[in-house]
Amino acid sequence: MRWLSPLWERPGWVLAGVLCLSLLAFAGLVDIRSGKLRVMMDPSVDRLLPAGGRDREVYEHARKLFGSDEAVVVALGSEDVFTPSMLERIVRLTGELEALEGVQRVLSLATALNIHNAEGDLRIAPFLDSIPQDAAALERLRVQATQSPIYGGELVSTDGRTTALLVYLDRMSDRDLMESGVVQRIEGTVRAAVVDAEVWFSGPPYMKVRGSEILLHELSFMLPLIMVALSFILFASLRSLRGVLVPLAAVFVALLWTVGTLGWLGQTFDLVSSAVPALILTVGFTYAMHVVASFHAYFQGDDPPESSRQAVRRTLADVALPILVCAITTLVGFLSLALNPIVSVRLFGLFSILGVLYAVLATLTLSPALLALLPPPRASRPNALAAGLGRLSDFLALQAVGHRNRHLAIWGAILVLALLASTQIRVGTDVMTGFDEDLPLRQSYEAINARLGGANELQILLESEVTEAFRMPANLAQLEALQTWLEAQPEIGSVQSIVDYLKLLNHAIHDDDPSYRRLPETRGLVSELMFFGASPETQRFLDARSQTANIRVRAKVGDTDSIGDLVSRIQARLAILPPHLHGQVTGSIAMLSSSVNDVARGQALSLALAFGMIFLVLALTFTSVRVGLIALLPNALPIAVYFGALGLTGVTLNSATGLVGCMALGMAVDDTIHFFVRFNSVARRVGDEKLAAVLALRELIQPVTFTTLGLCVGFLVLTLSQIRGQVEFGLLASFTLAVAWLADVTLTPALCSRLGIVTLWDLLTIDIGLEPHRSIEIFDGLSATRARIVALMGRLVDAPAGQRVFHAGEPGSGLYVVISGEVRTWVSRREGEVTLGHYKRGECIGEVGFFQGEHSVHCIVEQDARMLRISSECLEALGRRYPRTAATLYANLNKILAARLGLRTRESALDDAFFRVPAIFRPGADGVPGADLALDPSLTERLAGLGIRTETLAALTLVPLVRVAWADEQLDAEELSAVLRGAESVGIAQDSPSQALLRAWLEERPDPRIFEAWRDFVAALCARLTIEGQFGLRDDLLGRAREVAQAAGGFLGVRSISRREEAVLRELQSVFPV
């Protein structure tokens, strides 16, 4: 913790550092000179594709050979395109668009070449080289354009009511595309020029720019909305402005650092990774909330810190490690995504890792620094919400613990149903229909898709090993046959290839003779036409060596299912081509379709990795494979339910929805870890696993619920998105996390209720000296780790020299292992005290008493000693959790016993049970309590002043019970009965003065000084007791007090202890030195 001390000692410096980093991040986010965002959005399909692999190679090869054809598609719709006014408008608009900066060329009816015969001459000129004015010429033009095998369907619809202008842009980077404003200029120019016709825009550059604007717009309102929602949750939980602002500041800074870093790195968000900012806010919120809630809790407790800085120090001691462990598991979830083959998923994982790291950093720096600088908060009364959650947790936990098997069966059934439903999962993506139907982007896409020859382009590459293969008529005939087959497929809108071009040329050069609308018959003619007709257009269909032909297919379907079916059929058709021709289907939409396998494979890989790594973390944290598996179970179930939900709802598994599994696993496991750690500490405290499960859940339900609520609300905000992937991601993520919460508050307590847990942290920090397995006889044959586990299951006791450990005749419920220091055993003989032995590190004492139930010798500490007390309960727990270890331990005990039995002489003389509890309270000869204990006279006087005299001394033994009974400010009938039963058990007769005093305490809350007097009395008493006696006294009193505490508020047979009663029990426990 020393390294964290600047956080509370120098908060100003910490804030200055955070500010500097934030300024640096801001400079990464925004270009200071231009004021423009440096972080960009890229909603293109390319990011949803695998980064490598055979498909990607083919795709890149095709782009290299034939270009990317990335143009802004401008579609104009009217009753009839072929009117003089409309045609003139197309010509004028083409010219205006060509004149725009950033536009390389425009392909439209005004520029596309019409190859035909004109008055006996071969004419190769744009369709609109001159605008026809008479009806016949217009009709001729309509026929030429709509029936053009190259441009019909692409530049003009077959019904002549829609025409397209393909605006090719200068080669530029995505950043230049966004910053140049060329797309906006194109849209502005078109809208200014066309006022009486419908206009639609599409194409990859348009999609990038407008999709990017949509993403930015969504972030601009979603992120503030998430912060507002989180504010409400924070206020509901913490009820203070500080409790709202400090976590919000931390998550805001984490977000700023993340996007700033991405800006410096030149990274872009895409359709998937654009969810990262919302994710950072929600994940960061959970961390920051833990810090602030823990800080506040200190000021609500009985021992509030003196200053904010002191509270920060304590808070960090409590939460720093759990937050780091939780961050590790969350990072593991995202790390598994970073290995996914899909680019966008990989980037989502990497961006999220960065964001989570920054969230942890901001939470552990900014939040503590701010809290340290602010004045301490005032204590506030628990709010009704918290009380309600407390009742809910009791109900859930008691159900879980009381009906463990029923819970396990219910969750088992859910698991089976979820797995069955998950068999219906469909894998698929449809990028464009993923946008909201009301968005112009989507409407344009649909309109263009419906009116022109399809908006989704596939490419089919036909390759030969021979150069100039596609100058051979036989190969061209194969190409033609394939094209004919393609045109017959229902999903396909249009098909173009070099065949169309050659046919057109052949037809035109033969005076438009219809019989020549066919492929040339000889290689020579083909070559001549290709030479004669060489143009950039032919380069779209055939490479320079005439070795690879490109068939451009426009599909009217866009979902990966339909495209996948189509691609499969095409591949089957390509398989029957002659052996010297190799066909491959490519294009971004085809890759997207084939990437569904990558999505599924990536999902399986990522989940397997996440499960594996998180299991390792859990097994390591809880030092047990079994506990690791058990802790994984409440987190595996929500993932199964998530897959079941996918199957039931029909939502497809895709790059966006596929993120949920790993992400939710990484997040949900945090709550499990919190629960297991808390359960561990409570179980040690109360010594009852069922009760520990109940109490642990009560302590955690508020933070777990509020953090889950924050996460769910944060993800639900994504459902306001106009992008379906984001909506589905938000819904599924919040649903899965809600199920994970349910599993954590029901299944986890049920699983824990029979577990003994040792955490790695305990294991590392417990001090039992070097090589305990070699230097301590009872650990012989165990590993060092196992020896430490045994020590953790037992109890370490530090005792000063002169302290009695146990006394002959005392009940023996535990044996002692000397860790350090020295103890001595002795017996009383007629001739006096006879020392039996001195015991140092590694040796056992009390083993006979442990087995016989009563100690036969006296034991005292000779030099300050540390001892490990191993009780029978500890051995029972070991037997359940670590049976081999327990067996070894028992075997070692047998050896030790066998060795010592022959050496020791048992003395049967037992002292009177002077040290036994009832005897302690025997009055002195003068009627003043504690006279034979030689109490401090001032304490005696204080007792007398409080009405405790000889005849009422017995009532003093019941002060702890009364204290507990009044813990909730009121005393109900069950608690009253429990206290009176306690009185009866210690021999306080009815109508005795002691009972009268006791009843007075039960009618009206006793003076607090009585408890203080009792505390001092017990402290004085313990100074004269053996350690074993102290354990006995403590267990006896605390046991009775717990019975009183459990007397009211229980449910279904399992008693409940309130938070305040628990605090009183802790207070009582603290009175005892052991």
């Binding site: 190769i124 003619l525 320079a544």
Partner: protein
């Protein structure tokens, strides 16, 4: 006529032959532009370096696409001028073999142009409609627009002389050309550095509307040779920086102002394919 350079992207009739004719006549560029103002010395220099009546030369065009594939075209160019406004140009290809003997004929009479193509496998001559446009020279990087600038056509280009410069230690005139108002051009401006000794361009850069160089034509100094009274560039390279492609034009077998038969420039002779 509404004409846009972007779609002049098809095949090589009138302008190709006219331009290549100009190359032949002037031993590569600048067949004698009418320049004005302080362009006088440049104009005089270019005019001095032009053939008078006829020329014949072999050419070789090698284009390299962005995948590295090369395509080579060889042939002969015949150019003849009968008077100031009457000229003829014949281009006959020798290779690749499948297009051997394919020929183009351009006849210019004043403002009238007629263009014919002969494809030997078709065994017929087709007249090409005058509206037919083209931009890519046989699929090379040379475009119609480029060549118009190379010719410094007075009708469409405004030229201005800038401060002289140096290219590879050779003093050069610096001429900037822009399209006249109303004339469409894919380029914002074209800067030419003309060698003061040979009167041939050593470097020409074609600038796009965004101010970046889109194409760069270079003439290696060592390729400049003197043929009789005029200088000839035997090798020129054009690099298309946008499309990452290039084309080199090599000239050999030069015959300036020799005997060239008039019959070569007839449709009848073209139909014979000889």
């Amino acid at each position: 006529m509404n004409r846009s350079f972007q779609w002049i992207a098809f095949h090589p009739p009138r302008w190709v032959l006219a331009t290549i004719g100009a190359l032949v006549a002037s031993a590569v560029f600048f067949p004698g532009p009418a320049v004005s103002g302080d362009l006088g010395p440049v104009e005089e220099c270019v005019r001095r370096n032009s053939p008078e009546r006829a020329s014949v030369r072999g050419i070789s065009l090698v284009s390299v696409d962005r995948t590295g594939s090369q395509r080579k075209l060889t042939g002969k160019l015949y150019w003849k001028r009968w008077s100031a406004d009457r000229s003829g140009l014949l281009m006959r290809l020798d290779s690749p073999p499948e297009v051997r003997r394919s020929s183009y004929l351009v006849l210019q009479d004043g403002h009238q142009e007629q263009m014919f193509v002969y494809l030997p496998n078709m065994q017929r001559v087709r007249r090409i409609h005058p509206d037919t446009a083209s931009g890519s020279l046989f699929g090379t990087d040379f475009s119609y627009a480029d060549l118009r600038y190379l010719q410094m056509l007075e009708s469409i280009v405004i030229s201005e002389r800038l401060e002289d410069g140096v290219v590879g230690e050779r003093p050069a005139y610096h001429v900037r050309m822009r399209a006249k108002p109303g004339e469409k051009s894919p380029y914002d401006r074209v800067d030419a550095m003309i060698d003061q000794e040979s009167c041939l361009p050593l470097q020409i850069e074609f600038f796009g509307s965004d101010g970046s160089v889109q194409k760069r034509l270079t003439t290696p100094v060592e390729s400049l040779t003197r043929e009789g009274d005029i200088w000839v560039a035997r090798s020129v390279a054009l690099l298309d920086l946008r499309n990452e492609t290039s084309t080199s034009l090599d000239v050999d077998g030069i015959d300036v102002d020799g005997d060239v038969s008039d019959r070569l420039f007839t449709v009848t002779r073209l139909e014979r394919g000889r």
